[in-house]
C-alpha cells in the first residue's frame, strides 16, 4: 500500500464535486414525462371509475381510494415537474456525476475506473422524441448503477466514447 502518499493532501486540494457546473438533460424530456404522467392518470381514473361503477362498497372507502390516488399523483407531479430542473449530469476528467429528484434528491458519483460497461438505449417513447437513455453499470447488485434518461444522440454518444476511452486507458 505504498502507493498511498495522499494522506498529506490538504482537504482544500481535494476537488469538490459540488463546485462544478452541471448540465441539465434535454428539455424535450419534460414532454415525455408529461405523456407518461397523463397515461398513468388516465389509467388510474379508468380503473377507479370501473371499480366504483361495478363494485358496491361503502362511501368512505371510495373517498379514501380517491384521496390516496390523488395524493400519489400530487407527489409524482412534484417529483416529475418540480424536480425536472434538478435532473442534471456532469462529466469530470475521472468520473461522472448525476443528480435527480425533488422529494428525495440524489447525487451520485461513478468513477470511470469502476464502470463495467455502458449502454445507450431508446424506449418507444424516447424514440418519438429522438432521445436516448444512458445506462452505466458498476460491479455488484444494481443499486450502484446509474441511468441517465433524456439525452440527445450527440451527448449520449460523446459520454459513451469518453467512458470507453477511459476504461481502455487503464
Amino acid at each position: 500500500m505504498s502507493d498511498f502518499s495522499n494522506l498529506s493532501v490538504k482537504l482544500e486540494n481535494i476537488p469538490d464535486f459540488k463546485s462544478i457546473e452541471l448540465t441539465p438533460i434535454h428539455p424535450k424530456f419534460r414532454r415525455i414525462l408529461s405523456i407518461r404522467y397523463s397515461i398513468a392518470l388516465i389509467l388510474s381514473a379508468l380503473v377507479l371509475s370501473t371499480l366504483i361503477y361495478y363494485v358496491s362498497l361503502p362511501l368512505w372507502s371510495y373517498s379514501l381510494m380517491i384521496f390516496v390516488t390523488l395524493t400519489i399523483f400530487v407527489l409524482i407531479y412534484l417529483e416529475f415537474f418540480e424536480g425536472f430542473p434538478n435532473r442534471k449530469f456532469g462529466i469530470r476528467e475521472l468520473d461522472i456525476i448525476y443528480q435527480i429528484g425533488f422529494l428525495v434528491k440524489k447525487e451520485t458519483i461513478v468513477p470511470f475506473n469502476r464502470i463495467q460497461h455502458i449502454e445507450v438505449t431508446q424506449s418507444l417513447l424516447l424514440r418519438k422524441f429522438n432521445l436516448y437513455s444512458l445506462l452505466i453499470y458498476t460491479a455488484g447488485e444494481s443499486s450502484g448503477d446509474l441511468k441517465i434518461a433524456g439525452l440527445d444522440h450527440h451527448t449520449a454518444q460523446k459520454i459513451k466514447s469518453k467512458v470507453l476511452q477511459e476504461i481502455e486507458d487503464e
Binding site: 502507493d3 498511498f4 481535494i14 476537488p15 429528484g101 447525487e107 461513478v110 469502476r114 455488484g140 450502484g144
Partner: protein, 483 residues
C-alpha cells in the same frame, strides 16, 4: 447423485402436492383421482430424475471445465478455467447419509455465477478440486509470481490455523448468540398449533369455550406469564443448539490466496475466502460477547447478485487478536486508524418514532380488546419504552468513519456492528436528501460495493459531501483493483 436429486425434487413439490388436501370437499370426492395423479407424478419424477442423472456429465477440456446436463432441453456448459473464482465442497444431511459431497464452483461476473455438482464421492471431489486448482495455478503464473513477493511466509509448511474453535468456545458462542431468532421459530410453531387446536375444539363446543375463557381470565394471566418465560427459555436453548450444530468444529486455515473455512456437524461446509474477492468485513458483538471476548465476523465477497446475510461467510467466536489477524491478511493493512467521523443525527428518532407508535399499537390494541385495558396499558408502555430504547441505541451506534484507506460504518442496536470497506473497493457513492431533511441540512449516504451497498442515515450534508469527495479522490489515486 440420482437419489439426492429425487429427494430434492420431491421436497420442492411437496407443498404443491399437499394443496388439494386443504379443501375438505375435494378430499372426500376426488381422493381416488388425486391419488392416481400423485402416483403418476411420482413415477414421472422418478423417470425424470433417473434420466437427468444419466445425462449429467462433466469432463475437463484443455482450457475449460465442461458440463452436460438437461433432460428435455440439453445444455452444455463450458467454464473457462480463468473464470473460476472459488471451488468449495459442502455436504448437507442427505448427502451425508448417502456418503457423497457437493462441489460448488463460483465464477466471477457472469449472471449465473455458480455451478453445482450435487453428488460426488468425497475422493472424487477432492481430486477434481485439486486438479482444477493445479490447472488454475499454471494459468495464473504471472499473477502468482507477483504475489509471491509479498506473501512468501508459509510455503512448504503446513497451512497455519488462524482459528480453531474448541468446545468451550463454541459454548460461549452459543450462549451469546441472539436468541430472538429462536423465539421467532417457537412463536410460529405455537401459533400454528394453537390455530389447529382451536379449530378442533370449536367443532365440539362452540359456546362453552367462550364462557370458560371469561371465567378463567385470572388464570390466563399467570398462564401468559408462564408461557412468556417458557418461550424465552426454549428460544434460548434452540438458538444455542442450532448455532452450535452449525459452527461445530469451526476452523480457519491460512492459505496463499486467503482463508479456508470449515465447519458444521450435520451439514459440513467448506468455504474459501479469497483475498482479492473480499469487499466488506463486518464484525458484530453484543454485551455478552464482549464479556466472553468473542465476536462474529462476516465477510462479503463480490457477487453479481444481491449479497444477503446468508451468502456472507460467517465466522463465529473470533477474539480481538484473531480479528486483527484476519483483517490484516485480507486487507494487508492494520485496523487501528483515526477516522474522520460523521454521526447519525438524533433527529433520526423522529422518523423511527412512527415505528415505535406502530409497534405499541400492534401489541397494545389486541390486548386492550381481548384481555384487559390495564394489562394493555402496562404492556403497551413497556413496548413503547423498549422500542424507544432500541431506536435510541440505533441512532447512537450509527456512524460512518472515513480514512484514506478505509470506510468504517457503525450500526446495530443491542448488538454493535462495524463494517470495514477499503476505499478502493467502493464502486460508486451517492448522497440522498429528502425534502424534510433539506430544512435541517441532513442527508443519507449510500456506499455501493460489488458486495452490496451500505446506507448511513441522517448525517450532516456537508460531512457527507466531504466523505464523498475524499473517497472519490482516493478512488482516482489508487492503483489497487477492486477485484
Amino acid at each position: 447423485m440420482f437419489i439426492t436429486d429425487l429427494l430434492k425434487n420431491v421436497r420442492q413439490n411437496f407443498i404443491v402436492l399437499l394443496l388439494p388436501f386443504v379443501n375438505e370437499k375435494i378430499r372426500t370426492d376426488y381422493l381416488w383421482i388425486f391419488l392416481l395423479i400423485l402416483s403418476s407424478l411420482l413415477l414421472f419424477q422418478f423417470i425424470y430424475s433417473y434420466k437427468s442423472y444419466l445425462n449429467y456429465q462433466f469432463y475437463i477440456k484443455k482450457d475449460a471445465l465442461c458440463l452436460d446436463h438437461g433432460v428435455f432441453k440439453k445444455s452444455n456448459l463450458e467454464i473457462p478455467f480463468y473464470r473460476i473464482q472459488n471451488i468449495s465442497i459442502e455436504q448437507n444431511i442427505i448427502q451425508r447419509i448417502l456418503g457423497v459431497v457437493g462441489l460448488k464452483i463460483d465464477t466471477a461476473g457472469a449472471k449465473s455465477s455458480e455451478v453445482r455438482i450435487k453428488a460426488l464421492s468425497e475422493m472424487m471431489a477432492n481430486d477434481l478440486k485439486r486438479e482444477l486448482v493445479e490447472i488454475k495455478k499454471t494459468i495464473d503464473v504471472p499473477d502468482e509470481t507477483k504475489k509471491n513477493t509479498t506473501v512468501s511466509t508459509n510455503q512448504g509448511t503446513e497451512p497455519e490455523h488462524v482459528l480453531k474453535l474448541g468446545f468451550s468456545q463454541l459454548l460461549k458462542v452459543g450462549i451469546s448468540s441472539n436468541f430472538f431468532k429462536g423465539i421467532g421459530i417457537i412463536f410460529l410453531v405455537l401459533t400454528s398449533t394453537y390455530d389447529m387446536l382451536s379449530d378442533l375444539f370449536n367443532v365440539f363446543y362452540d359456546d362453552d369455550l367462550n364462557d370458560e375463557l371469561y371465567r378463567s381470565i385470572p388464570k390466563t394471566l399467570s398462564f401468559t406469564l408462564f408461557m412468556i418465560f417458557f418461550i424465552l427459555i426454549t428460544g434460548f436453548i434452540i438458538t444455542m443448539a442450532s448455532v452450535m450444530f452449525k459452527y461445530f468444529n469451526l476452523s480457519i486455515l491460512n492459505r496463499k490466496e486467503g482463508f479456508q473455512v470449515n465447519y458444521g456437524l450435520l451439514k459440513k461446509e467448506n468455504k474459501f475466502i479469497k483475498r482479492q474477492k473480499t469487499q466488506i468485513i463486518e464484525r458484530e458483538t453484543n454485551p455478552i460477547k464482549k464479556f466472553f471476548d468473542t465476536s462474529n465476523v462476516y465477510v462479503s465477497q463480490a457477487s453479481s447478485s444481491r449479497v444477503n446475510q446468508k451468502q456472507k461467510i460467517g465466522i463465529v467466536g473470533v477474539n480481538d487478536q484473531q480479528f486483527h489477524k484476519i483483517f490484516q491478511t485480507l486487507f494487508k493493512t492494520d485496523i487501528d486508524k483515526q477516522f474522520y467521523v460523521a454521526r447519525t443525527d438524533i433527529r433520526y428518532l423522529i422518523r423511527s418514532f412512527w415505528f415505535q407508535v406502530l409497534m405499541t399499537l400492534l401489541f397494545g390494541l389486541p390486548i386492550y380488546f381481548f384481555i384487559d385495558p390495564v394489562v394493555a396499558f402496562v404492556i403497551g408502555s413497556i413496548v413503547f419504552i423498549a422500542v424507544g430504547m432500541i431506536n435510541y441505541l440505533t441512532v447512537i451506534k450509527s456512524y460512518v468513519g472515513y480514512d484514506a484507506l478505509f470506510l468504517k460504518i457503525g450500526s446495530g442496536s443491542i448488538h454493535t456492528k462495524s463494517s470495514y470497506i477499503p476505499t478502493h473497493k467502493v464502486q460508486s457513492i451517492s448522497v440522498r436528501q429528502s425534502i424534510l431533511q433539506r430544512s435541517s441540512d441532513l442527508s443519507d449516504l449510500i456506499i455501493n460495493t460489488a458486495a452490496g451497498s451500505k446506507k448511513i442515515n441522517f448525517i450532516p450534508y456537508d460531512k457527507a459531501i466531504t466523505i464523498m469527495n475524499n473517497t472519490n479522490y482516493n478512488l482516482h489515486q489508487t492503483k489497487e483493483e477492486w477485484m
